[in-house]
Symmetry: C2
Subunit: 426 residues, 2 copies
């Protein structure tokens, strides 16, 4: 008397492995073993009408002008890593392992501040475009909101994200608390080419020096060609105006390039023949190589992926079929492929990629996995459409040494112990 | 000494109109007239260092675990239209005219409640699948979070959205306060086909009756074929777990169909041979036609668009070039085209559509417009890839009469007066 409406799949125990350690075909859905079910479970559920669940018997809360998460989700929060010696200096991490999909909600977008979060009155804020231009211009917020805009879903990743990977031993913290200096949002703003065209760029200008209106007046140099190619003045994040900690009333958006260039609270764009050689492009955001030379102006964030579930600190309740899921991104373009290994990299299987596949944006990947209860090492490896492949850690360390601090994009590995506990490993 | 890095465009005054009333080619960027500029403006801006702007001189606020909008944006809020006679019954509107891009931030997603917002403890909540199934099943939240998921960006629109359009006279309220019972988010959840396959659907089942865990136990009937085709159990909205007012801990997602079917706080799915004939599919959410018959089970939300800027209550400061922008969506599929008219529908020009063009999702459109300071009537007209064209109001009223209340999708018109004030017109 049972009719199947979806394509028939064989019982889970008959599904063939497609790579070592129990990886299954990405097109198979999980089907078994995860439910409460059983007659006891049903009786409990169907008896709910008699249980003292107040929300079934009492009208709920009134309407709200601006919604907030459930109090039961209060632990889904940014993890703050502040510099105790300097107030307002530090980072806060997006809890990637608590999230699903690809959009980071605005309240959980990662932060990196050098001098705290300014509370800027938009009526007093100005953006000045000056230097090697035909005519210096100043724009107020109200005027800029009337300019033509475009929208693009983009990740922003701090150049220092995942830098614990350079340590000798694998750091044992939740995935987001190590790798969560990356977030993804739909940004809307004014193409910078429009504003610069209006000011008239001199022929000898080749850099743009961007400065924020925080008390540190944080500044960075960006090649003019990039600014004119695809950068924008970000005014909206996921539909609404920027949050203060993300640059209200305006920030730079520099698609696919390191986070520090996305200057927040932007107040000045100076056209220049040379970079400014500020602290953040000399003493910081450079990478010391084994040769003793340092890489400088390493703008593009490389191809990278991260399994968010299972990940450090989670526990698998027992042998079963699980969905492995995570995120992949590349500053070079679109994610073309994510492979997953359940045997520490001996064999790999292609994960399903959730469309649409957008350039310089998060891509969510998923693959089913049958865990047999023995120790396993899970890895993911991303490839972008420019042909870049996420390297193994040993390869990256051999190339860059361990003094670089920035731009760590090696494959991330999680160990599943026989008791189901997940931890970080190299 | 000026070098142009972007493709040369002629001065704005030389741009040709491509439709009546000053509509310009969608590929042209605005270039002039909107800036502060002039030497006075520059001096003001460049003198900022001496001005008492506290955020330039004092370290800013510390890190926050969960961010909030700027206090200067506090008026970007949902507009509440509550039923004074019944606590917790009513709607709140998304302020569409204040937003940009296509994602609605979770705090501003529209709401429709019949009995307030329950504060559900997820540890006590169960979803029961029963009725015409091989085996009734109950799921707790923790188990469901381990099921395979998919993500999709989808609009949800209340069947009663824009229903002021049936009135004899055009209602004078902001765009979002009339048409803002529609929002768009990235939803992540478990395909319902997976759960129903596990329960085993009987051959004589053809409807699913969904019930919420609010005190009203709001319920609706949905054809089984739709449930198995593309519906999901929504658990995450824009990356994070659902907000209470959007169904925490779980809701139905019914792509492209009317909002009332997306049952929030979902606690029961009953497989049935017939619909339940609940209040919300008999006395409500049906449309009385001029013939005296009523349409029932009118599930799909039709092809529609709305100009959000300029729109009611905004004022254009003077003759100039403006960017007209708005949103289009269709429950039938992808938006294929949005045309804009600046002369009340006498002539039309194609607006630029912001990609990616996703099915059953918001599409942002934009087109430049030169306003000469004389009265103008702005309209937008959407076409979807199934060939549906948004009708003029007169056509819709002739077909449906004015007693229908639901499913109003006619072309929306804004009048710009010679003083720049924008208001609603038919």
């Amino acid at each position: 008397m049972t009719r199947r409406f979806i394509r028939p799949v064989p019982p889970a125990e008959e599904w063939p492995d497609i790579a070592g350690g129990g990886l299954l075909d990405r097109r198979l859905f999980l089907r078994s073993g995860l439910l409460l079910a059983g007659s006891a479970g049903i009786r409990n559920a169907l008896a709910q009408g008699d249980a003292p669940l107040p929300w079934l018997h009492t009208p709920g809360a009134p309407f709200s002008a601006y919604g907030q998460p459930s109090p039961y989700e209060r632990y889904t929060a940014r993890r703050i890593g502040a510099n105790r010696a300097v107030a307002g200096n530090g980072v806060s991490f997006t809890p990637l392992e608590e999230l699903a999909g690809t959009i980071t909600p605005n309240g959980l977008h990662f932060e990196r501040h050098h001098n705290g979060v300014p509370q800027i009155d938009p009526a007093l804020h100005r953006l000045t475009v000056h230097g090697r231009v035909r005519q210096a211009l100043a724009f107020d917020v109200k005027s800029l909101l009337r300019y033509p805009m475009r929208s693009q879903t983009l990740f922003i990743e701090c150049g220092g994200n995942s830098n614990a990977g350079w340590h000798s031993e694998p750091v044992q913290r939740p995935a987001g608390s190590v790798h969560g200096l990356v977030s993804c949002a739909e940004w809307t703003g004014v193409p910078l080419s429009v504003l610069l065209d209006e000011a008239g760029v001199d022929a000898d200008a080749s850099w743009v020096i961007a400065e924020g209106a925080d008390a540190g007046a944080m500044n960075m140099s960006i090649p003019l060609a990039k600014i004119l190619d695809d950068c924008m003045l970000g005014l909206y994040q996921n539909g609404e105006r920027l949050r203060p900690e993300n640059g209200y009333p305006m920030r730079l958006i520099v698609p696919g390039w390191e986070g520090v260039l996305h200057v927040k609270w932007l107040q000045r764009l100076e056209l220049s023949a040379q970079p400014v050689m500020s602290r953040n492009e000399t003493a910081k955001y450079t990478e010391l190589l084994p040769s003793g030379k340092a890489r400088q102006f390493t703008f593009t964030m490389d191809c990278k992926s991260l399994i968010t579930t299972p990940s450090h600190g989670q526990t698998l309740p027992g042998p079963d079929i699980y969905q492995i899921t995570g995120l992949a991104w590349s500053g070079h373009g679109r994610i073309a492929r994510v492979e997953v290994s359940a045997d520490g990299g001996n064999s790999w299987a292609d994960a399903a990629l959730q469309g649409p596949l957008l350039p310089r944006s998060f891509t969510r990947f998923r693959i089913p996995w049958r865990w047999d209860g023995t120790p396993a090492v899970l890895k993911s490896r991303a490839t972008d459409d420019a042909g870049n492949v996420q390297p193994e850690r040993a390869t990256l360390v051999a190339e860059r040494g361990r003094a670089g601090y920035f731009h760590y994009n090696a494959i991330i590995a999680w160990t599943v112990e026989d008791d189901g506990l997940v931890s970080h490993t190299y």
